[in-house]
């Protein structure tokens, strides 16, 4: 089993479009793991159908029983996240600020705090019109623990994948907890670099993270040709980081609405199509080399 994670640092750089295209070329032999669990678009890109859902529980949250609470304030003093609010003399846990550490629970002398489990989202498995299975998730807006849900998506994808299958991970933006969970243990990170000031800066932060996690990486520069200086900045950053470039994809408004046309970037006819196929071919080559090494 080989895992390829597609990440970018910046949002909107083209992760989902490119990971869906990589998956289309691999066909039924791959499993697509959409790890952008709080903005999941892989199912749209790949035409998901026959979706099966199971509830996702994030772990215990805490609440104060007003009948048992003596309003002593020990919980508020114990909480370092400002998650215990006092209104009109009574205390309550603000779930959006609660880090689920349980410090309040152990400090309450009246045993007025109890833990509860609440559904925080759904884990989904779908078929795709392109033949592969899609593992995806919908985190309830405002819930935390996205990293935990990412790990769950990846575990389910691994269960569904055969020994010689490839798992294509569509990572979330940023460089935080769910991104680290999306990259951990993968065989190759495809870094999508948007050829813009922020795209290059954010990708550079991701590249540093990938390096510290000792993952192999290759890059695709996307939306090039809008500004020569930004194209050069992307190339320079990748060269200095020692990351090979699979290809460059020019900015082309025709690429915007692929998801509406039920196709991926792998099967397009537009100005950028040749460049896209060449970049995807280089990624295929890298995956093939990884398979041979096994």
């Amino acid at each position: 089993m080989i895992t390829v994670s597609v990440a970018s640092g910046k949002g909107g750089a083209g992760k989902t479009s490119l990971s869906a295209a990589i998956a289309e070329r691999l066909g039924a032999a791959c499993v697509f793991a959409d790890c952008d669990v709080d903005a999941a678009n892989g199912a749209i890109a790949l035409g998901a159908a026959g979706t099966k859902s199971e509830p996702y529980f994030a772990g215990p949250g805490f609440e104060i029983d007003p009948a048992a609470c003596t309003s002593c304030g020990a919980c508020q003093a114990a909480c370092r996240f400002g998650a215990i609010e006092r209104t009109n003399g009574s205390f309550r846990v603000a779930p959006e600020l609660c880090e689920r550490c349980g410090a309040c629970l152990s400090r309450c002398p009246a045993k007025a705090i109890r833990s509860y489990e609440k559904q925080a989202g759904e884990l989904l498995v779908s078929d795709s019109r392109l033949g592969m299975r899609i593992v995806h998730a919908e985190l309830e807006p405002g819930e935390d623990t996205s990293g935990k849900l990412v790990a769950l998506v990846r575990r389910r994808a691994a269960e569904l994948a055969g020994d010689d299958a490839v798992i294509v991970v569509d990572a979330p933006p940023g460089i935080g907890c769910p991104v680290i969970a999306s990259i951990t243990g993968c065989d190759l990170v495809v870094v999508v670099v948007e050829a813009s000031a922020s795209g290059v800066r954010d990708a550079a932060r991701l590249v540093e993270l990938v390096g510290s996690m000792r993952r192999r990486a290759m890059a695709i520069v996307n939306k090039s040709g809008l500004n020569q200086a930004m194209d050069d900045a992307a190339r320079t950053m990748l060269k200095e980081a020692g990351i090979p470039v699979a290809g460059e994809i020019p900015f082309d408004p025709a690429l915007r609405s692929v998801e509406e046309s039920n196709r991926t970037w792998a099967s397009l006819d537009c100005k950028a199509a040749t460049r896209i196929r060449s970049a995807l071919g280089a990624v295929d080559g890298a995956i093939g080399a990884l398979k041979e090494k096994r």
């Binding site: 910046k10 949002g11 933006p173 948007e194």
Partner: protein, 295 residues
């Protein structure tokens, strides 16, 4: 709600790359013409707002953001393992009476310290990021930046929010992170109004739906700006109508605007845009004052 006398407008989106930072930077520029304004970059994993202000200089020192993490005093440790049992984040392992602490996954809650009967854990600060302030021709910029490899983005977001509140700026424009998970939740918490930036694609509609639910769940009024209008065919306005959320502005897609955006150059010579931005700011400020818009 923010303190009286301060208006806090959060710019968020669900989907990344719809134009949050661009809209936030332009709202801040427009706001700064009329009142003391601070642009607060809460996208701490990918902070890019200051990039729009090439001439901005640092004002004041960067401030380290840290959490208190436990350190074992081995001479006092009895190896009982109660600390590991108290930690809900898997940051402490107790194997055969040997305690191992991984400070990188510690949230700094202090549960282990409270649980230790031998007072064998002391707490030391660990840097998780920093906040920096800049000045761009009278516009104050405050940036939160999480350290690479860290996972405690919300700690940095809260530190930046606190520092912004202390600034006393009459208007705060927050550039929020993408998604609808904990970083986005912390970033919109305490705002008076949320400007949701969408683009006319199916991906954006899907993620806007989640962002609308987040704003609604937090009880913050919200309106939608359709950025890159005309770029795709997805019907954002129809979605907003069905959801009962006002469209407070449209920014038409033009290749030259995309090119300026790529270089992080403000659309300063674009008269059509500046009128639109002023109108969005007025509607957002009005929504903040009257608690209007999506509820």
């Amino acid at each position: 709600m923010s303190d009286a006398g301060t208006t806090v407008i959060a710019v968020a989106s669900g989907k990344g790359g719809t134009g949050k930072t661009t809209v936030a930077a332009h709202l801040a520029i427009a706001g700064a013409r009329g009142r003391p304004t601070m642009l607060v970059d809460l996208d701490v994993e990918a902070p890019d707002a200051s990039g729009y202000f090439k001439g901005a200089g640092r004002s004041g020192d960067a401030s380290e953001v840290s959490v208190l993490v436990p350190r074992l005093v081995e001479a006092r440790c009895t190896g009982c393992g109660l600390c590991a049992k108290a930690c809900r984040f898997g940051a402490i392992l107790a194997i055969g009476g040997v305690i191992t602490i991984d400070p990188k996954v510690c949230k700094g809650c202090g549960a282990c310290v409270n649980a230790c009967p031998a007072a064998a854990l002391e707490e030391i600060p660990m840097t998780v990021g920093q906040t920096s302030s800049f000045d761009a021709d009278g516009l104050a910029i405050l940036e939160g930046r999480m350290a690479i490899g860290d996972i405690r983005s919300t700690v940095v977001i809260e530190a930046a929010k606190k520092r912004a509140a202390e600034s006393g700026a009459a208007l705060q424009i927050r550039d929020c992170p993408p998604g609808v998970s904990c970083p986005a939740t912390h970033a919109i918490e305490g705002a008076d109004y949320v400007v949701l930036v969408a683009e006319p694609t199916e991906f954006s509609i899907h993620d806007l739906g989640a962002a609308v639910r987040l704003a609604r769940g937090r009880g913050v009024p919200a309106g939608v700006v359709i950025n890159k209008d005309g770029f795709g065919d997805a019907d954002i306005a129809g979605f907003c109508e069905r959801e009962g959320i006002p469209v407070i502005g449209r920014i038409a897609f033009k290749r030259e605007r995309a090119a300026s955006g790529a270089a992080a150059e403000p659309w300063s010579d674009d008269a059509a845009i500046s009128g639109e931005i002023d109108a969005i700011l007025a509607l957002a400020a009005d929504g903040a004052r009257t608690d209007g818009g999506l509820r």
